[in-house]
Each structure stands twice: as C-alpha cells, then as structure tokens.
C-alpha cells in the first residue's frame, strides 16, 4: 500500500518536473555571472584553473561553510560512537599480496594526493580531491598492515588547526584590506606554482584538513 502511494506521488512529481525542465534547454549557454568569472578570472586572480578561483575566491565563503560541515561530520560521528565497545572478533590477517602491496603503495598514494592539492590552481583537482585520496591511502593502510596508525589526538589537532588557519588567513585579508578573504598576496606569472595569491595556501590547508578528517571518520567507523 505504501509502495503504491509513493509510486503515484513520484509519478506526479516527475511529470511536473518534466514541464518545468522544458524551460531549461540542454547545452545552451546560459551563463550570466560565469561569463564575468571566465573572462576576468585570470586577470583578477592569477590562477589558471577557473573552478579553483570560483571555489576559493569568488565563493570562498561557501568553501568555509563546507569545511565546517566536514568538521561537524567528524565530530558528530565521534559523539555518536562515543564509548562504543566493539566485540573483538579475531580479524583474519590480510593476504600476502595485500600486505606487501600496501606497504609499497602507501607512500605513492600519499604523494599523489599531495600533488593534486598543491597544484589545485593549475590542474583539475584541489584540496578536497587530494584530501580524499590521502584518506583512501590511510584506508588501505588500515586494511592491509593494521599495526601502524596515526593517533587520534594528532588527527584532531590537524583538523582544528586547518580550520583555524583558514579563518586566520581570511581575517588577515580583513585587516589588511577591509574585505574578508581578500586576495592580498602578489599574483605571480600564470601557470607557475607560485601564482594566484592566497589560493595555494588555502588549498594546502584544506587538503591537509580534509585528509585528516576523512581518515578520522574511516577509523571511527572501522572500530
């Protein structure tokens, strides 16, 4: 009964959305604000990747909210699973391929993640993508060689410092130039590593923070 009602309701919503979508043709150029971003983004920011300059400079406040949400996720999960006694089943030790593979691959995965978030303003990628890759490296480490682990206190400190440094950089913009998140460092030559003002700094902060948080979440869920 419940399934039939929900089905009918969804069909109605779907038909309504069809009529609404007729107004938004696929593939048409409907950018108003984005035209300004693409044409002026290079001059105003110095970062070659326009998506990065949108995420960190034009809409940097949303990024601040986003790292806050990730922080809430990690803290909330810690609160929900607080004092959770796990029954220690004996974990089968991983197979030989996994053990050697993980020892070998782990530093390379970390390097890939760090590369992606340092070059966030030049190539596709950025802090969040790089942080997710770092976290998957830690997951591999946990599954394969489950002896070494980073302490929980260290993860907490990196998380808090990451968020605080982001806000401090923004506040420096406020003090020096009267706007929060103002891009106050010099914009270097295009397409080199030192370019784009404060954008690389912000992305480095975000990358480390996201990597730490996602690893923390994975550890807690695994416990």
């Amino acid at each position: 009964m419940r399934k039939i009602i929900s089905f009918i309701l969804l069909i109605v919503i779907f038909v309504g959305i069809y009529f609404a979508l007729a107004q938004i043709p696929y593939g048409k150029n409907k950018m108003n604000v984005s035209k300004h971003y693409i044409s002026n983004g290079l001059k105003e920011n110095g970062a070659a990747n326009i998506v990065t300059s949108v995420v960190l400079n034009y809409r940097g406040f949303d990024t601040l909210g986003e790292i806050t949400i990730l922080f809430i996720g990690a803290v909330g999960l810690g609160m929900i699973l607080f004092g959770f006694e796990t029954k220690k089943k004996d974990i089968k030790p991983a197979s030989l391929i996994l053990k050697t593979g993980c020892k070998f691959l782990f530093p390379f995965i970390l390097l890939l993640g760090i590369y992606i978030f340092i070059h966030g303003h030049l190539t596709p990628g950025g802090g969040f993508q790089g942080g997710a890759i770092i976290a998957s490296g830690f997951l591999l480490n946990y599954l394969g060689c489950s002896k070494k682990r980073i302490s929980e206190k260290g993860i907490n400190i990196i998380e808090s410092l990451g968020g605080a440094i982001f806000i401090v950089i923004g506040l420096l913009g406020l003090f020096l130039g009267d706007y929060f998140l103002l891009n106050f460092l010099p914009k270097g030559a295009v397409n080199t590593l030192i370019s784009g003002g404060i954008i690389p700094l912000l992305y480095i902060t975000i990358g480390l923070k996201v990597g730490a948080e996602l690893s923390g979440i994975i550890y807690k869920l695994m416990e």
Binding site: G16, I17, F19, A20, L21, A22, Q23, I24, K30, M31, N32, V33, S34, H36, Y37, E44, N57, Y58, R59, G60, F61, D62, L64, G65, E66, T68, I69, F71, I72, G73, V75, G76, L77, G78, M79, I80, F82, G83, K153, N156, I157, E159, S160, L161, G163, A164, I167, G170, L171, G173, L174, F175, G177, D178, Y179, F180, L181, L182, N183
Partner: protein
C-alpha cells in the same frame, strides 16, 4: 562600508566559528574550560548584535566577501530582520549555554560544545546572508549539527528519533538543492537580489516547481503539516538544553528561510493564501495532538508545531502588520518555549521521569521552578501581563485588517485552538500545584539554572508590559521583508 574592524558584522559568524574550530585545542590545554567557550562566544555575538541594531535600522549594511562587487561575489545583507534574529539567537544561545554548564555532565562534553556553537553559527549565517547557495550551506550546518545533537544521550529513544530526523531532513535538503538548481538554470546567477530582479522574465511552470520545492524543503525543517513527523520524537528525546535550542531557534530559522525566499525572490502571489490555510491546519493539529499526550516533553513539542502553524499564518497575511505580528510571535515563542524547556529539563532531572503524573505537587517541592514554568505557559496561551498577549492580539488585528471572509474563518479557528491550548496547559499547572506530592522534601535550584530562567522570565514580563518598545523595530523590519525593490537597490546599487 564599515570602518571599525571590531564592528564588522561578519564577525558575528566568524567568531563562533573560529572558537568552535579551536575548541579541541582548548580541550587539550584544560578540560574544564571547554564548558565556558559557548558562553563567551554567544556573549560576544549578543553584544555585537545589540551595538549594530541602531545602525542597521537606518540603513542595511552590505558586506561583500573577497572584495568583488555583488552579484559577482557572496554578500551579507545585514538588515533589521537579520539583526533581530541574530539578537534572539545569541540571547537564547548564551542563556542555554549557561544552563548547559551544569546540566550536561556525562558523555563527550567537548564535542557537545563544539556542535552547539556550530549550530548557532549556522543559524546566524542563515539570517545574515544574501546569496541563496550560501543560505543552503549554512542551513546544512544547522541541520547536521542538530541531527548529531539529538542523539547525544545515546539511549534508545534518542538514536531512533535522530535517525528519523536525519532521513527526513536530508530529503528536505535535497529538495532545496533541486530548487536552487532550477533557479540557476533559469537565471545563471545565485545572488538573491539578482534573481529577484530577473524573476519576471520567465513564465510560470518552472517557477512554480521551484517554489514548491523550496516550500517542501524548508517546510520539513519548519514543520508544516504533512512534513512534521520528525518533530515530536526529536524534541522529546533530546537533552533538554538541545530541545530548547531546537524549539526556540532551529524551527524559526526554517520559517525565516522559507519566507525570505518567498518574499524576496518570488514576490507576492496566491501561494500565500495556501500557506495561511496550511498554517491554521498545522495549528489545529498541533494543539489537538498535544491534548492527549502524557509525556510532558511531547506536549511541549506538539505545542511547538502548533505555534509554528500560527506563525506561518501570521507571516502569510502579506501586509506590514501581518509580518510584524508574525515576527512578534516568533519572539514570544522563542522566549516562552525556551523557558518552558529549561524548567521542564530541571524538573525531569530531579524526578527522573517524563510522565505528567510525576509532576504531581512539584509546586510545593520546587516553588521557584514551578513559578517560572507557570509564567512560560501563561505567556504562550496569551494572558495579559505577559508577552503572549500583545503578540496574539496583533495577529488577530492584522488578520481582521486584511479583510475577507477567509481570514475571518481562520481567525475564529485560531481562537478555538488557543482555547484548546489553554485547557491542556491549565491541566498541567493544576497537576503541579494542586495535587499532593509523593515525597515532601524541598529541592534548591542551582545558580546556573536559575540565572537563564529568571532572565527569560523578566524579559517576558517586561516586554509584555511595554510592547511598544519592540513594535517600532518590528514594523520597520517588516517593511524590509515586503519591499523587494529597495532590497534590490541596496544590494545591486541602483
């Protein structure tokens, strides 16, 4: 342009956020200090909001982030409505944080305080922003913190209520994001003033779908009639300080977000009549369901649903007096419901049970607490010397002034609902005062509980006796909500 750094409204969002980020480090240094961090943060917010209030009434302040001009950047629109909400949020946040110093004793205290500060940051961000995706991000901060905080007690009821709340809340957020997607696909911009400027150039079906998605999405958080199944469970299973925050702040912010989108972006049209009817239906269902409950916190939760219906009805009348009456009712409900939840929390803490029958005779055992509880109930019903009376009176006057037979019927239904509300609240007061208690000892209340409750009670009585103090401010802010053209002109510069 604000010249003094310490009076920049963006600090209203940044200071609690920064404190929340630094709390784990503070917790490493000294575990006991963590309890006082929300108190300090909210005190700063309260003082800054009160300082900004006279400036903002003259002229709303626009703060652009990262130095570009709107609409190419995110901007904060600090208007009278925003500052009033910010004052309310920081006041209740400050008082409940004081209450929480001694109320929250076991469990991960540090994480509780972090999430508490972040919830209030999200709420402050919603009322101060002028960009619709930023609204969504801060709305998510609010919702996700509340999902985690409802489950703080980790008992059976808490986890189940948090799960139901999470599933329904995230479907609501999905709807809002769909609505934002539609609006962006039509207009190519995310700034509320820019969308409001362009809104007349496209015709109806897409806009109707977008509006319906926004009402459904924000309505889940604001608990309109078919979408409020999560509220009784969540508000009654959370720890009482969190119930006070949820009932006093979170659902009001849902209503604010819905009406900000409806008024500023979409403008006035027939959907408001529909919303007025839905509001009265919610009111009736909320009050009638509260009538047959025996769990004191569930009674208060259903009463919250009813009051939300009343506020939605007032805000959808569509005139300046209607909006000002709705805002006044929001102030009333925030102050009274928080006071009620704080008192009830304290009573439950001592009697260890949430049933009505366990409140027998508490009038003799905890006289001050029962007295404060009674002040809260009388002001919710709308009896004269308390704040509920001028607020309900202004709703009735606004409804009658709007004219029409429909509003007359709705006002009569609203009065019936008030009568039902009076009946069950009087029943509770009677149980507290006029039945014999089982034990005969007197319980002395502690300082951290008394201080917030007494401050709330004093505000209730004071504003109830001199309602004109706020009436002027509320009238001016109602003007801001309605006046779409001046909003666009202020943000985009003519």
């Amino acid at each position: 342009m604000v010249n003094i750094i310490w009076q920049n409204p963006i600090l209203l969002i940044l200071v609690p956020l920064g404190l929340a980020f630094l709390t784990p480090i503070i917790g490493l240094i000294s575990k006991n200090f963590v309890k006082y961090v929300p108190v300090l943060g909210m005190l700063f917010n309260l003082i800054l909001s009160i300082i900004l209030l006279p400036k903002v009434i003259i002229n709303p302040i626009i703060i652009s982030i990262a130095g570009w001009k709107p609409p190419f950047c995110i901007n904060l629109f600090v208007g009278p409505v925003g500052i009033i909400f910010s004052i309310l949020i920081s006041l209740i946040g400050f008082l409940v944080a004081i209450y929480g110093i001694n109320y929250i004793k076991k469990g991960p205290i540090e994480r509780y305080n972090i999430l508490y500060l972040l919830l209030l940051t999200g709420a402050t961000g919603i009322v101060l922003t002028g960009d619709i995706f930023n609204l969504f991000v801060f709305f998510e901060i609010l919702c996700i913190s509340s999902y985690a905080l409802v489950a703080y007690n980790q008992d059976k009821n808490g986890i189940e209520a948090a799960t139901k709340y999470l599933i329904q809340g995230s479907i609501g957020s999905a709807f809002i994001l769909l609505g934002i997607g539609f609006l962006y696909g039509l207009y190519g911009t995310l700034n509320m003033a820019d969308i409001a400027q362009n809104i007349s150039t496209v015709n109806s079906p897409t806009l109707f779908i977008a509006m319906a998605l926004f009402i459904a999405g924000f309505g889940i958080e604001a608990s309109i009639f078919p979408l409020n199944a999560w509220l009784p469970d969540a508000h009654s299973s959370a720890p009482s300080s969190i119930s006070a925050i949820l009932s006093g702040i979170a659902i009001h912010i849902g209503i604010y977000a819905m009406f900000r989108v409806l008024y500023t972006i979409f403008g006035i049209n027939n959907v408001f009549t529909f919303l007025a009817i839905v509001g009265i239906i919610t009111l009736l269902i909320g009050e009638m369901s509260a009538f047959k409950q025996t769990n004191i916190k569930r009674i208060l939760a259903y009463s919250s649903i009813g009051q939300m219906g009343l506020i939605i009805f007032a805000l959808s009348i569509g005139t300046i007096s209607g909006i000002s009456a709705g805002l006044f009712q929001i102030v009333t409900h925030t102050l009274s419901k928080s006071l009620l939840f704080l008192c009830v929390g304290y009573m439950i803490y001592h009697t260890n049970s949430m049933e009505l029958s366990s409140l027998k005779g508490l009038g003799k055992r905890m006289p001050l607490t029962s007295f404060l509880f009674t002040i809260g109930t009388f002001s919710l019903i709308g009896l004269p010397p308390f704040i509920g009376f001028p607020s309900k009176l202004s709703i009735i006057l606004a409804g009658l002034k709007a004219g029409g037979i429909l509003f007359l019927i709705l006002i009569i239904l609203m009065l019936c609902a008030t009568v039902i509300e009076g009946v069950y609240f009087f029943k509770i007061v009677q149980i507290i005062y006029f039945r014999e208690p089982e034990k005969q000892d007197r319980i002395k209340p502690s300082f951290t509980f008394l201080l917030p409750a007494i401050i709330l009670a004093i505000l209730i009585i004071f504003i109830g006796l001199y309602p004109d103090l706020i009436h002027n401010i509320l009238n001016k802010s109602a003007g801001e909500f309605l006046d779409k053209l001046s909003y666009i002109k202020t943000v985009l510069g003519g």
